[in-house]
């Protein structure tokens, strides 16, 4: 059956308004509306998307045109899925907010905006929805811990979206007055370079990549828990979408560097992406707050996506797209797990938490599967995307980018393990023995679904690879990922007689399963071991009775943190000093022009007259 995408956008807005109205009467019902809304939207888009039932014609929103493109559908499904999964958490967190009804409404509005961005073919109205997402999500942030985060967020997103607007207007000027999305490809010469710079600037801000990343940790830490999950899983993908348009759709920018046959523009993006990975990893390793750590991890994964896209080879771009899927699922699951812990334990600071696993085992398993995927370890999705990005980087022979990606993937293992060890494992602190209990079923449901999906994307990549191939065809890129049987054909070198390197995730999972089964057999056959309490540990003969003394969670990676302790505030201070410069300029102008003496105005009038006459008469 046929349905226009415009119906979905209007439906989301309608759900938002309904959620507001019902929310005013009864908080919980309002947030349940968000669940229903986002589920129906996700279901509709996914079902119609796959059966080709989505159409683009507009009956009500006549000022814009929509176009169902494969990559738009790809992003829309992911983002609406993330929204749907996170909305399950709304009813449990709604009590903490100052304006619960407004929260539910804005939650749905930002989903509507995101869908609008992905499908609109008119660039100006792509910007319309882009800005709409910015201000609707803006008012969600202050409902969390701090209010300052909102102004940081708006400062950077406004800078990003206005860069995008400037690029769009440059395209409008170059294509003499057409806003169509295909106009991006047909821009040439210096305007192409300007458009490329400004669009990737917008992508960098939205993704939270290196030079413009300051807002990401501030916002994701201080926003309410479900909102930070939505931000890192869903709204960051807007940045990836713009990055896809800017880096891949516009093709190579600038001259080609012969030794690594890459375009100069793409080379810069790749280096900045690599810097994002390294900076994100280094900062994440030393964080004590679990949410801030996950914020930096989504920043570093954004760097992976950028590196993947800027390779401009089938492996690289497919790796980037696959990483978007894997990262969206994994980081949403991780954020939701931390949210479940924060709801019960009250804080996400690792210093104050410990041994949550004994009371929340399912949340632990969800978090474990999420970090396996984030660290890029085989049975999960993250491994396949990182494998593809590695293949692409090696194929291009870019050494420093390879160093950064390797450092990033091993580093991600380090920092994702830190909450696992400090927050979940270790001694069970007494104050949490009574208060902490397993999350209710409706919170576990989305988390379990996300984990199963993470495993599914890791073991059977077939569906997503076909979708990516369809995207390549739809964007007229001559890339293709070959799948023979269950294996992905990786990097095919020019040397004859050497077959492509194969990766069969299903086989890896089976072999991993067989290995675990053998180990389990060894474990079962031998004598059953005696269960003893956690406190009964080897303490070199000393008698220790307080759990805090036996729980190692403060300054987890002390030797690493000591290395770069002095340099962590460079970027933040840079932006703070920028803001202060603007304030000083304002204060100076105020002091200079706005004294209460009438002669200031007269003085300036005389000065301007003299200035004009200087050339001609005097």
């Amino acid at each position: 059956m046929e349905l226009s995408i415009e119906i979905f956008i209007l439906a989301t807005l309608a759900f938002g308004l309904m959620a507001y109205v019902i929310g005013r009467l009864h908080k919980q019902l309002g947030s349940i509306m968000t669940i229903l809304g986002s589920l129906t939207i996700f279901g509709g888009i996914a079902y119609l998307g796959f059966t080709g039932g989505l159409t683009g014609e507009t009956a009500y929103l006549t000022f814009t045109q929509f176009e169902i493109s494969e990559f738009g559908l790809f992003f829309a499904i992911i983002v609406s899925f993330v929204f749907a999964m996170v909305s399950f958490f709304n009813p449990f967190f709604i009590k903490q907010y100052k304006y619960p009804a407004l929260y539910s409404m804005l939650f749905m509005f930002s989903l509507a905006g995101a869908i609008g961005v992905f499908f609109s073919s008119n660039l100006l109205y792509l910007f319309f929805f882009f800005e709409f997402v910015v201000w609707t999500s803006l008012f969600l942030i202050p409902m969390g811990r701090s209010k300052k985060a909102a102004s940081w967020y708006y400062g950077f997103s406004a800078a990003g979206s206005f860069m995008l607007l400037f690029a769009i207007l440059m395209i409008y000027n170059a294509n003499n007055g057409s806003f169509h999305i295909s106009g991006i490809g047909s821009v040439t010469g210096t305007t192409q370079i300007i458009v490329f710079i400004f669009m990737s600037g917008a992508a960098f801000t939205k993704l939270g990549a290196f030079p413009l990343h300051i807002w990401l940790p501030k916002v994701l830490t201080n926003a309410p828990d479900p909102v930070s999950a939505v931000f890192s899983g869903g709204l960051e993908k807007l940045g990836a979408f713009v990055a896809l348009l800017a880096i891949v759709n516009m093709g190579g920018i600038g001259f080609i560097i012969p030794s690594i046959d890459m375009y100069f523009g793409q080379m810069i993006i790749a280096t900045l992406g690599a810097l994002t990975i390294v900076f994100g990893t280094l900062m994440a390793i030393r964080q004590d707050d679990a949410k801030k750590l996950l914020a930096y991890s989504s920043m570093s994964n954004g760097g992976y996506i950028l590196v993947g896209f800027s390779m401009l080879t089938s492996q690289g771009v497919a790796g980037g797209l696959y990483h978007i899927v894997a990262h969206a699922i994994a980081s949403t699951a991780a954020f939701l797990a931390i949210a479940a812990v924060a709801r019960v334990a009250g804080t996400t600071k690792m210093k104050e938490l410990g041994g949550i696993i004994h009371k929340m085992p399912v949340t632990y398993m969800v978090y474990l599967i999420a970090i396996i995927s984030m660290a890029g370890i085989p049975p999960m999705g993250g491994f396949i995307s990182k494998w593809m990005i590695f293949q692409a980087v090696i194929d291009k022979g870019m050494i420093f980018i390879a160093i950064a990606t390797v450092f990033g993937s091993i580093g991600s293992f380090l920092y994702v393990f830190r909450p696992l060890a400090a927050l979940f494992l270790g001694q069970e602190l007494p104050q949490f023995k009574k208060t902490v209990k397993e999350a209710p079923f409706f919170m576990l449901l989305p988390m379990i679904i996300l984990s199963l999906l993470s495993v599914y994307t890791g073991v059977l990549p077939g569906v997503i690879i076909d979708f990516i191939n369809k995207i390549f065809v739809d964007m007229q890129l001559n890339y293709n990922i070959v799948m023979n049987g269950f294996a992905i054909e990786g990097y095919t070198s020019g040397i004859e007689g050497v077959g492509p390197s194969l990766l069969n995730p299903l086989l890896i999972a089976c072999v991993f399963g067989v290995g675990v089964f053998v180990a389990f057999l060894i474990f079962i056959v031998l004598k059953k071991s005696k269960k003893i309490d956690l406190m009964d540990t080897y303490t070199a003969g000393n008698f220790v009775y307080t759990e805090e003394h036996l729980h190692y969670s403060v300054d987890f990676y002390a030797p690493l943190e000591r290395l770069y302790e002095k340099y962590i505030h460079i970027m933040k201070n840079f932006y703070k000093s920028l803001a202060n410069k603007v304030r000083e300029f304002g204060a100076f102008m105020k002091y200079f022009f706005f004294t209460n003496k009438p002669e200031i105005t007269v003085f300036w009038i005389v000065a301007l007259m003299v200035f004009l006459l200087w050339g001609d008469v005097l």
Binding site: D536, Y538, G541, F543, Y545
Partner: protein, 192 residues
Amino acid sequence: MESTKYTQPVALSKKQVDRKWWEIGDFFRRNSLWMLMYCTGCCAIELPPAMTSAYDMERLGMGPMATPRQADVLLVTGYLSLKTLRRLIYTYEQMSEPKYVVGFGSCTINGGIYHDSHAVINQLDQYIPVDSYVAGCMPNTEAVMNGFVDLIELIKNKKANGWKNYHTNNAWYKKNQIDALGEVRIKDEFHQ
């Protein structure tokens, strides 16, 4: 001379099968005795010569291990003050079964030269089961190696079951420990 004719093996009972496994286990346990590096007194100085090239404890399969969980044999080398005894009992209970204890020097046998001191316990055997002793006040290295070989022999003949005794007559051991120390797991030792 039994007949060498092939006879149908009789089905062994569950207990016998376990016995068989335990014997095989004994073979491994006696050939790889890991000692806990826990030097309480002056006899510990005898251990390095036992490890180095002259006597080489390693050829018996013995090597130092860091924690009680991993170790099999606890070498009590020298006198035992009350404070050390508490640590010793706490560590002994943390070791994984089957575990063995070797008492070094006369101090563990009858208190040695400190037999009349108030701070030292005289007979180690009353507090934790000891499997083999090595006599001498600072026993010679041959004596130490001999002690180890005796322990291996004991395991071979299934006599080294001190750890079983600890379980069976635990009450007796506990009573002795309480008499000597007041209580083993003290709460706040340093601020008494």
